[in-house]
């Protein structure tokens, strides 16, 4: 028979766990709202920028005129993958989903005869990939404020430009959890070098009927635009990932709170039953004692 005291302690400890998880849920929910707003408001800039870039690239008929950093190198050998994880845990399958996905991507690339380098964002990714034998070119941590997110995006951009110019990488992709809704996040790849043009196709019809004049000339403008575009794309993925992180934490903490509630119910039932059993037992003892007299 379970000990009453033990049960009581157990119940109170589950209760305090529930308090913590429900507080974490509230915090995640309010952070999610802010992160979502940020992600949405940054979209305007990113869209305009990619529109300008696509009308610029679309205006150049011969793709050989475009810089390598836009079109990518032929016979690319080394791919860089930027992995956007979170700094903190307790957010369900947020990171493990991402890492599982990345593993598949990496073996795909290696199957094509390319070597893979990794850049990690967030503590979780850096501690995970430290244990593997992959080549980590850089790690970024502590993305706890919006200023810091922008700063990290800038650092990542500088790093990939530098690596590309030194021929240390030929391709760059970025992996992040795309924020679909509060209950669903989707690991997504985006190619930075060569520039993915799924968005350009949409704008094509629009950019064709407006023929822009450019100032200064196209090449100079591209020189300015390309790094700026990297920065925006990276920043956007960082923001998406942070919105997803809070959403994932919110749902998993919600589940944890509910589980804790169920557990308390069960434990309370056992506690009451046990208590009743003790009382009955004592009564029987008294009655049979009285009968014996």
């Amino acid at each position: 028979m379970p000990n009453l005291k033990e049960l009581k302690n157990r119940i109170s400890s589950v209760k305090s766990t529930r308090k913590i998880t429900s507080a974490m849920k509230m915090v995640a929910a309010s952070k999610l709202r802010r992160a979502q707003e940020l992600a949405e408001s940054s979209r305007v800039y990113a869209d305009s920028l990619s529109f300008i870039l696509s009308s610029l690239a679309g205006n150049t008929k011969n793709s050989a005129d475009l810089p390598e950093i836009l079109t990518g190198r032929e016979n690319s050998k080394i791919s860089l993958l930027i992995i956007n994880s979170s700094d903190r845990g307790l957010c369900g399958g947020f990171n493990s989903n991402l890492f599982r996905n990345a593993k598949k991507w990496i073996s795909d690339q290696q199957g094509q005869g390319k070597s893979v380098k990794i850049m990690t964002v967030g503590k979780k990714a850096s501690s995970f990939y430290k244990k593997t034998d992959l080549d980590i070119v850089a790690s970024f941590e502590d993305l706890n404020s919006n200023d810091r997110q922008l700063q990290v995006s800038e650092e990542i951009k500088n790093k990939i430009m530098e690596l590309f110019e030194n021929n240390e990488i030929d391709e760059v992709s970025i992996l992040f959890n795309k924020f679909v809704s509060a209950i669903s996040q989707e690991p997504t790849y985006q190619s930075l070098i060569p520039l993915s043009n799924d968005e350009t196709s949409e704008d094509e019809s629009e950019s064709n009927n407006a023929i822009f004049e450019f100032e200064p000339d196209k090449n100079e403008l591209l020189e300015y635009l390309v790094p700026r575009n990297f920065l925006t794309q990276i920043y956007r993925s960082v923001l998406e990932s942070s919105a997803s992180e809070h959403a994932a934490r919110m749902t998993s903490m919600d589940n944890a709170t509910r589980n804790a509630g169920d557990m308390i119910d069960r434990l309370t039932l056992t506690y009451n039953r046990t208590r009743q059993a003790f009382i009955t037992k004592e009564l029987i003892e008294i009655i049979s004692g009285a009968e014996a007299v």
Binding site: L38, S41, S42, V44, Y45, A46, S48, L49, F51, I52, S55, L56, N146, L150, A210, I211, F212, E213, F214, E215, P216, E220, L221, Y224, L225, R228, L231, T232, Y235
Partner: protein, 121 residues
């Protein structure tokens, strides 16, 4: 009237109908007015002015960026924008474009040159 939309990487800073906006283009100042030919340019650090009936309504300091002009839309993508009155020589030197050019003032112009050289006469 032309729709002037000023956007930073973080957010839309403002969007309003203006008669004319004067912008510091990389190769010279230009005025954005309705039915300007489609035009894309980068911006150098300098002053942006919103004008109506030949006088300045508001002026801003922009640290550089891009502008896209279409018929009735003028989209300005800026790194940083401040009302001109809030800018002083120390935060001018901290602006992103200034840092990127490593304070090369011959390209950029000194703070006095930028601030005392309004694009409108």
């Amino acid at each position: 009237m032309i729709n002037l939309k000023v956007v930073s990487p973080q957010k839309v800073i403002f969007e309003k109908e203006v008669e004319m906006a004067v912008l510091p283009g990389a190769e010279g100042d230009f005025a954005a007015m309705p039915n300007h030919s489609p035009f894309i340019s980068s911006l150098r650090p300098g002053q942006m002015a919103i004008m109506s009936s030949n006088k300045v309504d508001e002026s801003f300091f922009v640290s550089g960026g891009l502008v896209m002009l279409k018929e009735k839309v003028c989209e300005v993508l800026v790194d940083q924008i401040e009302p001109l009155s809030d800018v002083n020589s120390s935060n001018y030197q901290q602006s992103k474009t200034y840092q990127e050019l490593e304070g090369n003032e011959t390209v950029l112009g000194t703070f006095e040159q930028v601030v005392n050289n309004p694009p409108y006469k």
